[in-house]
């Protein structure tokens, strides 16, 4: 653990009994009280996550908007000020460099929030393709980030700010705003499938923000949550994880995330030609959800078989789902085997366990 990067909350994690693990070079808590309890807190009440390891890159300049539309798959020109959008950054062959959030301050200023394990790669990639009229600033090291997620997240956070959180729509942000007396950026975004917020602050304010939210949220039953709960929650909610559902080898179209790839966008963005060609040719493999019929837990990398016993693909993410109280998996399989209701088998150690192709996402919160 000594050689790992530490977030500003490292001491807080140790004091709270967090079980620290190496996550992409960062020392972060896998869990505090337990994954089951933490998942339940987020689904029913609220949970607080340290996501300070995420990368933040600021893009500025007169060409910022036009340039981003050439390196990102979503239509950045459609964004209004204070809007957030989810997008991919693709290689020319259609594989994914990273998935990220784009925050638009104005036509000449954007914030990109990228995966921790990809921050350096993304930084290099962006610098490699930069054009005159655009400047980049990597603010990862000076930025702390918290995520407060769950049906009671707003109630808790509202106690710490005079800003009316009701005015903040889904995938909108405001900056600066004062929470617990410190200046932050707050957005109604998250990675859990619940309502909630992500808060970006100065590194030196992170501990205060963390402590104040936990203190104010105690009556609502808020608890600190680790990476285990975060991964389980995002998986249940059908949200992809880089390196699993999408990667350099897996295109967004195969991962059923074509909604975030605007192939009709005028701009010839990186990867467009390859993805258009792939769509015209038809996909040879596709991501689907499996619900386990037999007892057992499908894990990443396990092989998937059809009724004839042919190997047709593999598990990209698999887990016991605490919310559904059953085991489920995302699998990448040959495209002709994916109709809903089809039975498939997952090779778990010496056995082949029966499963049924099911609708994604596994979990969706009820609309308010």
């Amino acid at each position: 653990m000594e050689n790992l990067l530490r977030t500003p909350l490292y001491q807080e994690h140790i004091l709270a009994g967090g079980q620290l693990v190496d996550f992409g070079g960062w020392a972060l808590p896998l869990q505090y009280s337990g994954i089951l309890e933490e998942v339940e807190a987020v689904r029913r009440r609220a949970g607080l996550f340290d996501v300070s390891h995420m990368g933040e890159i600021i893009v500025e300049g007169p060409q910022a908007l036009a340039w981003l539309d050439t390196v990102l798959t979503n239509d950045i020109s459609k964004l209004v000020d204070n809007q957030v959008v989810y997008t991919f950054m693709c290689y020319p062959h259609g594989g994914v460099v990273d998935d990220l959030l784009v925050y638009r301050y104005g036509p000449q200023k954007f914030l990109l929030v990228v995966n921790a394990s990809n921050t350096q790669k993304d930084w290099d990639w962006l610098n490699q393709h930069i054009i005159p009229g655009v400047t980049l600033d990597n603010s990862t090291a000076v930025t702390g980030q918290l995520a407060i997620q769950g049906p009671l997240a707003q109630e808790v956070l509202q106690k710490l700010t005079s800003y009316r959180l009701d005015d903040l729509g889904f995938f909108r942000f405001t900056d600066p705003v004062e929470i617990a007396g410190v200046p932050v950026l707050v957005s109604r975004t998250g990675y859990t499938g619940e309502d909630g917020f992500e808060i970006y602050c100065r590194v030196e304010d992170t501990v205060k923000l963390w402590q104040e939210i936990l203190r104010e949220g105690e009556p609502q039953g808020i608890i600190p949550c680790g990476l285990g709960a975060r991964d389980t929650l995002r998986f249940e909610a059908g949200l992809p994880l880089y390196g699993h559902e999408i990667s350099q080898e897996i295109t967004p179209l195969e991962a059923k995330l074509g909604f975030f790839v605007k192939l009709k966008k005028q701009v010839d963005f990186m990867g467009k030609a390859a993805l258009v060609a792939l769509k015209e040719k038809g996909l040879s493999r596709r991501l689907v959800g499996l619900n386990m019929m037999d007892k057992g837990i499908p894990r990443e990398g396990y092989r998937v078989f059809n009724s004839e016993g042919q190997d047709i693909g593999y598990v990209t993410s698999g887990s016991f789902s605490p919310t559904l109280n059953t085991s489920v998996a995302n699998v990448l399989v040959t495209a002709d085997s994916v109709q809903e209701g089809t039975f498939l088998w997952v090779g778990v150690r010496k056995r082949r366990l029966k499963a049924k192709v099911t609708k994604l996402p596994f979990y969706q919160r009820e609309a308010k």
């Binding site: 079980q19 896998l30 337990g34 991964d231 007892k295 837990i297 887990s319 016991f320 605490p322 150690r349």
Partner: protein, 128 residues
């Protein structure tokens, strides 16, 4: 949690209870804490013949699967079927209701090869 002094322990964080040539096997409190919430247990088959060191059961938490190893050569004569519906017993009562299986040892057991409670306590503390 106090370690039961009548038990023996392995470096794989298993506990063993010897009764003649029968050995009950489970995992320690330290091990269940490391694994986190157990949500599924894959038990061995009855009459399964195991060599020392064979993986005979799998304990699965939400995020990971961990093998449990046979501490000695023998035959599985009992499995804890309660764990099929209540895997969390491994967490809540690791030294009692959370036992995993009973072996009948092939040969005379050399108890001296395992740690006693005090030795294991020290071993586990060093791991922390």
């Amino acid at each position: 949690m106090q370690l039961p002094t009548e038990l023996k322990f392995t470096k794989e964080h298993e506990w063993l209870k010897f009764e003649g040539n029968r050995v009950t096997v489970g995992i320690t409190d330290f091990a269940q804490k490391e694994l986190g919430d157990i949500v599924y247990v894959e038990l061995p088959e009855l009459d399964e013949d195991l060599a020392e060191g064979d993986a005979f059961a799998v304990l699965e938490s939400v995020k990971a699967a961990a093998d449990v190893y046979a501490p000695l050569a023998g035959v599985v004569v009992e499995v804890n079927e309660l764990l099929e519906d209540e895997p969390s017993l491994v967490n809540t009562d690791p030294f009692g209701e959370g036992w995993i299986a009973v072996f009948e040892a092939d040969e005379d057991i050399l108890i001296a090869g395992f740690m006693d409670a005090a030795e294991y306590q020290q071993f586990a503390t060093e791991k922390e």
